[in-house]
Amino acid sequence: MGAMDDSNTDVIQGTLDMLILKTLSLEPMHGFGIARRVEQISRGVFKVNPGSLLTALQRLERAGLLDAEWRQTTNSRRAKFYTLTRAGTKRLEVETADWTRRASAIARLLRTEG
C-alpha cells in the first residue's frame, strides 16, 4: 500500500474535484471517459492520473455528490458510470462561483503588478 508520490502535477491541487463535477455535469461518464474529457477540453494542459481520479471518484461518491452504476458502454463493455447528484450540482455551482471570483482576483492582481 505504498503511497503514490507522483511528481507530475497534472492537476492543480484541489481542482480535480471541480473538474470531475464539471465534466459529469454534461453527461454521466466512466472513469477513463472523464480523464480523456478533461484532457481534451483543457487541450492537454491537464493530465489526470487514474489512481488519483478513481480515488477522488470514491470520495465524491461517499460525500453524496455522485452516484455510481455499472452500465454498458458504447462498445458494449461493462463500465462504472458516474452521475451528478443534486448535491453535486449545487456543489459545482458554489465551486465555480468561488473559483471565478478567485481567478479574477488573481488576474487583477497580476495586471496591476505588470
Partner: protein, 872 residues
C-alpha cells in the same frame, strides 16, 4: 456523512466484493485506454505500452484506490491482531506462562485496590458524607490527641461555632438490651437529637426522635427489628429496656446505617450533655459543616473557641484544643498504613510479573531480528514493525487482566475472611467500575512496560547489522545480554524487598505468639455478661448476684476457679487515667502517674494465674461500708513507691469516688490491650466497692476440660439466676488471637505475596538462564572441544546466576533501608534492620536463583561438542 459510514461498513463486511469492484473498474480503465490508443492507429502491443506509460502500473493503481476509506485502518489492525493471535497460538507455553503471570500480578493488584478504593477512596455512604467531621481533643503541649470530647466543651462548640449545620454528641459501645423475655448483646449508642441531622437519617418506618424523647425513645436498625421482632412494622412502638430504662421504638433505620461501629440501637440522649465535667471525656462528637464552609475555616472558628475556653477555665482547659477531622479520615486513618503497605507489596509483584513477561518477549524479538530486519529493508515503516509486537503484548495483558479479575474475586473473599474485625467499611468492599477501570489501566500500563523495550528494539534493528548476527552461534549484540541480566537483577531486588517485609512481619508474629502475657490464656472460658442496673440498689444487687453465681459456677464439674472483672485484658471494657498516692513525691501535672483501672472480684488473680507478689487478694470482707482497698500491679509499685513496700499505703483515682484506698497487695503486670503492648501499670479495685462499674463484666472460668464444652451448662446456670443478663461466650485464647488480627492479616498477606513474588522471580531466573545456555550452546561446544571440564561449565552458569542474585540482593538491601521507615510502626520486638530477616531473605534468594539456574546449567554440561558445532 451517512454514506461515509454505510459505504465504509459495507466494504468492511464485504471486503472481497469491494476489492473486486475496484479491480474491475481499474482494469476497465486500462482497457479503455488501450482501446483509445488503438483507435489512434497503434498496434495492440504498442497500444498496451502507451496506456501503461500514460497511466502507470495497474496493480499499483488498484492498491491506491483500494486504500481509500477509514475502514482500511481497521482492516490492517485486524490483520495484525490475527497475526498476533496466531503468534500466541504457535507459542502456547510462552502465552500461557505470560498470561498466568500477569493474571497473578493484576489479580493481586485488583483485589487490594478494591479494598483501598472502597475503604480509603470511595465517599462515605452517608448523604453528602464529605461534610461530616469528627471533633477530637488535642493537647497542644504534648501533641497527644484523643477522639473524645468533654460534654461542656462540645456543648460550647455547638452553641458558639458558626459554620456547622448541626453538632451531635454521642457515646456508645456494646451492651445488653432487655427484650420481653430475653436479653441480647448488641451495638448501642446514646445519641442526641442532632445525630439524625448530622447524618441526614431517613427512617424506613416511624420517625427520628426529638429532644423531648430523651431517655424515652430509641431507633433501631432494620436488622435488629428483623432479628427480634420479625419486621420493621412489628417493632415500631414496642418497648425495650437498656439499664432498666424502658424505651419505646420510634423509628427504624435502614440496614446500611450502623454508625458508630456496628450500632443497632440508638437511644435518645438529651441535647444538653449530662456530664458537666471538663476533664471527663465521656463523649464523642460529630458535626456537619454548612455548605461552602471548608474544614480549614471551621477549624479556625474552633481555635477561637478553644482559646476562649482556655482563658475561662485555665486549669481544666489548659493546652486543650478542639480539633476537626473529616469523618472519612477518622474512620480509616488507622487502617491506612496497612492498606498502603499491601498496595506497595502488590505493586512490587506486578513489577516482577512485568519483568517476567518482558524477558521472553525481548528474547523473541531478538530471535525475530532477522525477519524484522528483512521487513524493514523491504520498506516497512517503524510503526508497521512495532505494531504487531505491541499488539501481541496488549493481547497478553488484556487476557491477563481478565483472568486477573477472575482471580481477584475469590482472592477478595479470602482476604475479607481473614481481615481484622476493625477493618472499617468492610461491608462496602466490592468490585466496581472504578476498580475495573483501574485494572484496565493496569493492563495497558503493563503492556507499555513489557512491550516497549522489545518493540523499540525491533524497530531499531539495523538491517545490515542484524543480518550479520547469528544468535545461535553466540554472535549477538553485546548489549543484549546486559539488558537481560538487568531484568534478572531488578526481579531479584523486588523479591528481596518483599521477602524482607514478610520476614519482619512473620518475626513480629512469632514474637507476639510466644510472649508472656502476664496471665495464662489457655483453658479459660470467658463470659461477657451485662446485667441491667439503673440505681445504686440495682447495682449492689447485681454484684451480690454475680458473687453467688461465681460460687455456683465453680461447683460445675470441670471448672476450677471462677471470677469476674471489668477490664479484662484484650476485652472491650476498661478504664484508665491518672492517679495519685498520699505522701508520695509532689505530682508534676504534665507527667502524672497513669494506670489502667480494673474492677475485679476476689479470686480473679488466682483464676487468671496472675502472680500475687505481696500482700493479699480481695476478700468477701472488703465491702462497700468498710475501708476502700486496692491491689496494684508491679509497674504501679515501681513508678509510685520505688523500693518501699506499697502495702498499707494510700492511693486514689477518679473512677467513681475520690476516696483514698489502702493498697493491700501487689500482683504481676499484664499486657492489657494486646500482646503487642508492653506490660503496663494496672490499678485493681473490688467489685463490691464499685458496683456501678461491676454490672457489665467478663466472667472468667479456669477449666480442666475444653472451655467451650461448658458453655451450655454455664448459660443454663446464669439464666436460672437472672434471665435479664445478656450473655456472650468466648475463650481467652480466642480473645488474645482476636487482638492480633491486624498483625496476622499483614503477616499472612505480605508473606503470601512474597511467596508469589519468589515463585515468579524463580521462573524468571530459570527462563533467562535457560535461554542464555541455549544461545551459548555453540560457545560451550567450543570450550568443551578445547577441553573444558563439565564442572567448570556448570560452575560458570551457576556462578553467573549467583552473581546476578548478589547484585539484586545488594540493591534490595539498599531499598529495604530506604523503606524501613514505612514498616517500623508495624513491628513488635523486631528492628526494621533485623539481621535474621535480612539474612534469611538473602539466603533464600541466593538459593532460589542458583537452583533455578541448575537445570539450564546441567543441560549445558551435556552439550555434545560435535553436535553443537555442526548445528545450524
Amino acid at each position: 456523512m451517512w454514506r461515509q459510514v454505510t459505504y465504509g461498513l459495507r466494504s468492511l463486511f464485504h471486503r472481497s466484493r469491494r476489492d473486486q469492484d475496484v479491480a474491475e473498474e481499474v482494469e476497465q480503465y486500462f482497457e479503455e485506454a488501450t482501446t483509445d490508443w488503438r483507435s489512434r492507429g497503434l498496434s495492440p502491443e504498442q497500444a498496451k505500452r502507451a496506456a501503461r506509460l500514460e497511466s502507470g502500473n495497474l496493480t499499483t493503481v488498484q492498491e491506491q484506490v483500494r486504500s481509500y476509506g477509514w475502514e482500511n485502518a481497521i482492516t490492517s489492525f485486524i490483520g495484525d491482531l490475527r497475526f498476533a493471535l496466531r503468534q500466541l497460538w504457535k507459542h502456547p507455553l510462552f502465552a500461557a506462562t505470560a498470561i498466568l503471570t500477569l493474571a497473578l500480578g493484576i489479580g493481586a493488584n485488583t483485589a487490594i485496590f478494591t479494598v483501598v478504593q472502597s475503604v480509603l477512596l470511595a465517599p462515605l455512604p452517608y448523604e453528602d458524607g464529605g461534610r461530616i467531621a469528627v471533633l477530637n481533643t488535642r493537647w497542644t503541649n504534648s501533641g497527644h490527641t484523643i477522639p473524645r470530647v468533654t460534654g461542656p466543651d462540645a456543648g460550647d462548640v455547638r452553641d458558639q461555632a458558626s459554620g456547622f449545620e448541626a453538632v451531635s454528641l454521642y457515646s456508645g459501645g456494646s451492651l445488653g438490651v432487655q427484650l420481653r423475655d430475653h436479653a441480647v448483646f448488641t451495638g448501642w449508642a446514646g445519641v442526641d437529637s442532632n445525630f439524625a441531622r448530622v447524618f441526614r437519617l431517613h427512617p424506613i418506618a416511624g420517625r427520628v426522635f426529638t429532644n423531648a424523647d430523651a431517655h424515652r425513645a430509641v431507633m433501631i436498625s432494620e436488622q435488629f427489628a428483623r432479628d427480634n421482632f420479625g419486621n420493621a412494622q412489628a417493632a415500631l412502638g414496642q418497648t425495650i429496656q437498656v439499664e432498666n430504662e424502658p424505651l419505646q421504638i420510634t423509628g427504624i433505620l435502614p440496614g446500611s446505617f450502623d454508625f458508630p461501629n456496628k450500632t443497632q440501637v440508638w437511644e435518645a440522649y438529651p441535647l444538653r450533655p449530662e456530664s458537666q465535667s471538663r476533664t471527663a471525656f465521656n463523649y464523642k462528637a460529630v458535626g456537619r459543616l454548612q455548605p461552602g464552609v471548608t474544614f480549614q475555616a471551621a477549624q479556625a472558628g474552633l481555635d477561637g473557641i478553644s482559646h476562649r475556653l482556655e482563658i475561662a477555665y485555665p486549669v481544666d482547659n489548659a493546652h486543650k484544643q478542639i480539633l476537626l477531622l473529616p469523618l472519612q479520615q477518622a474512620l480509616t486513618g488507622e487502617t491506612r498504613p496497612t492498606l498502603l503497605l499491601l498496595w506497595a507489596t502488590v505493586a512490587l509483584i506486578l513489577l516482577i510479573a512485568c519483568v517476567n513477561v518482558t524477558h521472553p518477549q525481548l528474547v523473541r524479538s531478538m530471535d525475530r531480528q532477522q525477519e524484522l530486519a528483512i521487513r524493514q529493508a523491504l520498506g516497512s515503516s517503524r510503526r508497521q514493525v512495532m505494531q504487531p509486537v505491541v499488539l501481541e503484548s496488549l493481547l497478553i495483558s488484556l487476557i491477563g487482566g481478565v483472568c486477573g479479575v477472575g482471580l481477584a474475586i475469590p482472592g477478595l473473599h479470602g482476604l475479607l475472611a481473614i481481615a481484622p474485625e476493625k477493618l472499617p467499611r468492610a461491608t462496602e468492599i466490592h468490585l466496581n467500575g472504578w476498580v475495573l477501570a483501574f485494572t484496565l489501566g493496569l493492563s495497558l500500563a503493563t503492556t507499555l512496560v513489557s512491550a516497549l523495550l522489545p518493540a523499540r528494539r525491533a524497530a531499531n534493528v539495523n538491517p545490515a547489522d542484524a543480518l550479520k548476527q547469528d544468535g545461535a552461534r553466540g554472535l549477538s549484540r553485546p548489549g543484549a545480554s546486559l539488558l537481560r541480566d538487568g531484568l534478572v537483577v531488578a526481579e531479584v531486588t523486588a523479591t528481596f524487598v518483599l521477602a524482607v517485609g514478610a520476614g519482619l512481619l512473620l518475626h513480629t508474629m512469632a514474637n507476639l505468639l510466644t510472649r508472656d502475657l502476664g496471665f495464662e490464656s489457655r483453658q479459660l472460658l470467658v463470659v461477657e455478661a451485662d446485667a441491667p442496673a439503673h440505681s445504686e440498689q440495682d447495682a449492689q444487687r447485681v454484684v451480690r448476684q454475680y458473687d453467688e453465681l461465681f460460687v455456683q459456677l465453680a461447683a460445675l464439674p470441670g471448672v476450677e476457679h471462677v471470677a469476674g472483672i471489668m477490664g479484662l485484658p484484650t476485652g472491650s471494657y476498661g478504664s484508665n487515667g491518672y492517679y495519685s498516692v498520699s505522701g508520695g513525691p509532689p505530682v508534676d501535672h504534665d507527667h502524672a502517674p497513669w494506670a489502667n483501672w480494673s474492677v475485679a472480684s476476689p479470686g480473679y488473680f488466682q483464676t487468671m494465674d496472675i502472680p500475687l507478689k505481696r500482700g493479699r487478694d480481695f476478700s468477701s470482707g472488703d465491702l462497700d461500708g468498710s475501708q476502700f482497698v486496692a491491689v496494684i500491679s508491679e509497674s504501679v509499685a515501681r513508678q509510685s513507691f520505688g523500693n518501699s513496700d506499697p502495702v498499707g499505703r494510700q492511693i486514689r483515682c477518679g473512677l467513681d469516688s475520690d476516696k483514698w484506698m489502702t493498697v493491700i497487695g501487689v500482683v504481676g503486670d499484664v499486657r492489657q490491650e494486646s500482646p503487642a503492648e508492653k506490660p503496663g501499670p494496672t490499678l485493681y479495685m473490688p467489685m463490691s466497692q464499685h458496683p456501678f462499674y461491676a454490672n457489665q463484666i467478663h466472667m472468667v472460668l479456669r477449666t480442666q476440660v475444653q472451655p467451650v464444652s461448658l458453655i451450655n451448662a454455664v448459660r443454663e446456670k446464669i439464666v436460672q439466676t437472672n434471665p435479664e443478663i445478656a450473655l456472650r461466650f468466648t475463650t481467652m485464647d480466642a480473645m488474645v488471637n482476636q487482638s492480633m488480627t491486624t498483625e496476622r492479616f499483614r503477616a499472612a498477606l505480605v508473606s503470601s505475596f512474597a511467596g508469589v513474588g519468589l515463585l515468579l522471580a524463580t521462573l524468571g531466573v530459570y527462563g533467562t538462564m535457560a535461554y542464555s545456555v541455549t544461545q551459548r550452546t555453540f560457545e560451550i561446544g567450543i570450550r568443551m572441544a578445547f577441553g573444558a571440564e563439565k564442572g567448570d561449565i556448570l560452575r560458570k552458569v551457576l556462578g553467573h546466576a549467583a552473581m546476578l542474585a548478589g547484585w539484586g540482593i545488594a540493591l534490595g538491601l539498599l531499598m529495604s533501608l530506604g523503606l524501613a521507615r514505612m514498616i517500623t510502626s508495624m513491628l513488635v520486638g523486631v528492628s526494621p534492620l533485623d539481621p535474621l530477616s535480612l539474612g534469611i531473605a538473602s539466603v533464600v534468594l541466593l538459593i532460589a536463583a542458583t537452583a533455578a539456574a541448575f537445570g539450564p546449567g546441567w543441560k549445558a554440561t551435556h552439550v555434545n561438542p560435535m553436535v553443537a558445532l555442526r548445528a545450524e
